[in-house]
Symmetry: C2
Subunit: 234 residues, 2 copies
Amino acid sequence: MSRKVEVCLSPRLVDRFDISNRIVVVTDVLRATSAMVAGLANGVTAIRPVETVEASAELRAQGYLAAAEREGQVVAGFDFGNSPYAFMKPEVNGQKIALTTTNGTRAIALVAAAPLVLIGAFVNLGAILNFLAHRNEDVLVLCSGWKDNFNLEDSLFAGAIVAGLRGPEVSNCDAGVATALLYEQLKGDLFGAIQQSSHYQRLAKMGIEEDIRFCMQRDVFSVVPMLRAGEIVL
Amino acid sequence: MSRKVEVCLSPRLVDRFDISNRIVVVTDVLRATSAMVAGLANGVTAIRPVETVEASAELRAQGYLAAAEREGQVVAGFDFGNSPYAFMKPEVNGQKIALTTTNGTRAIALVAAAPLVLIGAFVNLGAILNFLAHRNEDVLVLCSGWKDNFNLEDSLFAGAIVAGLRGPEVSNCDAGVATALLYEQLKGDLFGAIQQSSHYQRLAKMGIEEDIRFCMQRDVFSVVPMLRAGEIVL
């Protein structure tokens, strides 16, 4: 029996999908889920995604490091935002981090009721594919997008998942077909492809091209972070 | 100065775009906008898009032919649904038609406040491109989708518009970049491409493959229908 591999291109459309019986892979390639993967692979013990800046700050009292990003910038008063490099510094080793971001942490909250939520990005693409290949459940990839709109980098990641799982599975989902075709077309130069994107242009102006270059690399880490009791852990 | 050419992949996302100062091209390739173009090119004098089956039926009293489609089928009690062939029959010549469909007529209602709304499909692609090439206004292509979700055929049409207008214009819209790349990849065999789509599979089961083949043809008609005072006319 073939399984469904579907793609939701915007958090705004997630109610069009039944998440009660499938594995949901949430992605926010630039940069929230890339940073989460990098952090957990480098000794961060847990990441608590929260929806507001205030919620992140309040968790300091419970021993979390507090991180917050809005509009691509570190929010004033916070030690770091969602740069993956910040999540790999020696001082975060062994720590828990509370994190709120413009798009990614909100997307995670929307699917928290799914039986299994995985955190995916190009930096752990192979690990996610390997994990999914060993399960026969239906899969939904949720793109965090940019303020509810479609974005290129998350869609390319979704396409990489669909393309990577294809075989006996049939997507039967137009967004899955389209993103897989797009990924096959652009996979030879992901960083080049993303330079056409609106998000690249926004972020490059802020001088964080190094972050983008990092996030467009495949298979840097072999971890598969998942949501457990409100925290992202390995 | 370059103009914006943006793509909205689902009616649910249309509030992410400013429609107050741009030309909006609404598309529902399978089959509402293809049928509208076909009808107006073949002597239908006006098409009134309405949101409910009841509204379509009530317009009979005002001299309209009443058409209604739901879930790909002609609604019981109506003479026709949204098959383009029905809109080209001799008996519709010189007539006005009231039409409600699952996706397309709703999408038109969402952007009725824009200064200019055009009705586009592959069957009048060249005419739409030619019209837009002679205006320097910003453009939004609104894909009707399928029940608010992304679909392949409308996205390919949007990509054809972006690809066709490119030159001095910059899309700066990820959906525009993605759909244009997809169109460039698939334009050699649009009917073959669409056979991968969920909508094709839904409609083919109903025996309307001929309709789909018709709708995936480019430049059958040279008309540019537009919305004027609640009616679509030439």
